[in-house]
Amino acid sequence: MKEITEILRREAARLLKEGIEFFIGYAAGSIPVSARPFFAARPEEVDDLVFNTFCVHNLVKYLIRYPNKRVAVVVKGCDNGAVSRLVQERHLDRTKITVVGVPCGGMIDRNRVLAELPPAARIEAVEDRQNALVIRTGQGEHVFEKKLYVMAKCQVCAKNNPASVDIMLGKEAPPVADPERDPFKEVKEIEALEAAGKAAYWERLIRRCLRCYACRQVCPACSCTECSFEQAVPGWQQGAMWLTKAKTLPDNFHYHLIRAFHVAGRCAGCAECERVCPVGIPLMLLNNKLTKDIKELFGEAPADACGVLCTYSPADPDEFA
């Protein structure tokens, strides 16, 4: 990982000298097991850039804020889908942005690692050794086998080397996915429940929602200028809105089902919604359900720019006849 960071800094410095206005990448976070988004605007700032197994964020959505600037952005394989999504929906001009791809060996699920460290252990250093992650704390060294601690999305990832990027850094990473793991395993488990069991399962999760809309903000597919849940209407028209501002179970359900449905067929599976959720709702269970059904019902049809729901085929299954 040291090596890739070196290459990243070199490329970033080169791009900034060549007239890119800024370079969006990652810098070390406030604690050793984290990273944060970082904007480098001058060649001398590139020394803060890093790439390691904690660079979980999808940086692509930042690009929407700078439609008329020449910006470079670091993407992992799973973030790459967001670039094509936003370009297809004409939020981005592909000619203005420079996409810098990094091979990804899987991102570590930080919460699971932290949960296994002794309580109140102060992390002194993190070392990345090919297949293992070594965390040194005051109480000694802890070795984590990477394969077991990668995020759920990495366990089924088939695109850890981003395709069709402008600049690819380093050499290709070996596949991270566990070939034996079924990406829809959890979805199938829920599908097997009785209606009442499903309702109870979802009610427990959805009740927790604070409706902070972080899942929407972070989602590359949720980039409408005006959201159907938050329209700019005067107070006396608020009653005509889909949702009230209050946090109630019916409104939470309404929000989550429709959010998932609005991104159906356009979700790239980056799982950012799930990562940013402050109350830990497994939102990918909803997105994956739709992905699975789309695959089963409509096959892997050449997708329309706005997703499978913007198109049709007379040969679609008809169970309503």
């Binding site: 009442a196 069991g197 019916p250 309404h254 089902l257 909803l286 008809d318």
Partner: protein
């Protein structure tokens, strides 16, 4: 004679009847329902019809909101695929609702709560049968309580 509040509630519950919201497309299904009426076909009065220009006008949020705000079942009816007045509207509806129905079932609605049917303007009997069938199924399931605010 005065009755206590609970007695009123009890009486109300005894006569609980399923409430169906039906979204009918203007060109086929609404005319089909009309035909059921003028042909004097008998069907249960539990349905509230909302006429829409085309079945593709139906936003999935309409269905969800109907279910959350008092409907026990929702019927969506449109022209048969290929017969849409707007050429392709109901093909989009079909895709959308195939997916949305599965999503609703996934979060705990019974499959009977949402029914989609193609009813042409000549199929008054089919409309009446659909309503009869739905009322029977919903009466068996009981009131819809999912995702409702319990007050």
């Amino acid at each position: 004679m005065s009755v206590s509040k609970s007695e009123v509630m009890e009486a109300k519950e005894k006569v609980w009847q399923p409430k169906i919201v039906a979204f009918l497309c203007n060109w086929c299904s609404y005319a089909g329902a009309d035909l059921a009426g003028v042909s004097r076909l008998k069907y249960p009065p539990n349905v509230r019809i909302i006429r829409v220009p085309c079945s593709s006008r139906i936003n999935p949020q309409f269905i969800l909101r109907a279910l959350q705000r008092g409907a026990d079942g929702v019927l969506v009816a449109g022209c048969h695929p290929g017969d849409c007045h707007y050429v392709s509207g109901n093909y989009f509806t079909r895709r959308r609702l195939l997916l949305f129905k599965r999503l609703l079932e996934y979060v705990g609605y019974e499959p009977e709560r949402l029914k989609v049917r193609w009813v042409s303007a000549a199929e008054g009997a089919r409309f009446a049968d659909t309503i009869k069938e739905m009322v029977d199924e919903l009466a068996y399931l009981g009131p819809n309580i999912r995702m409702r605010e319990i007050k």
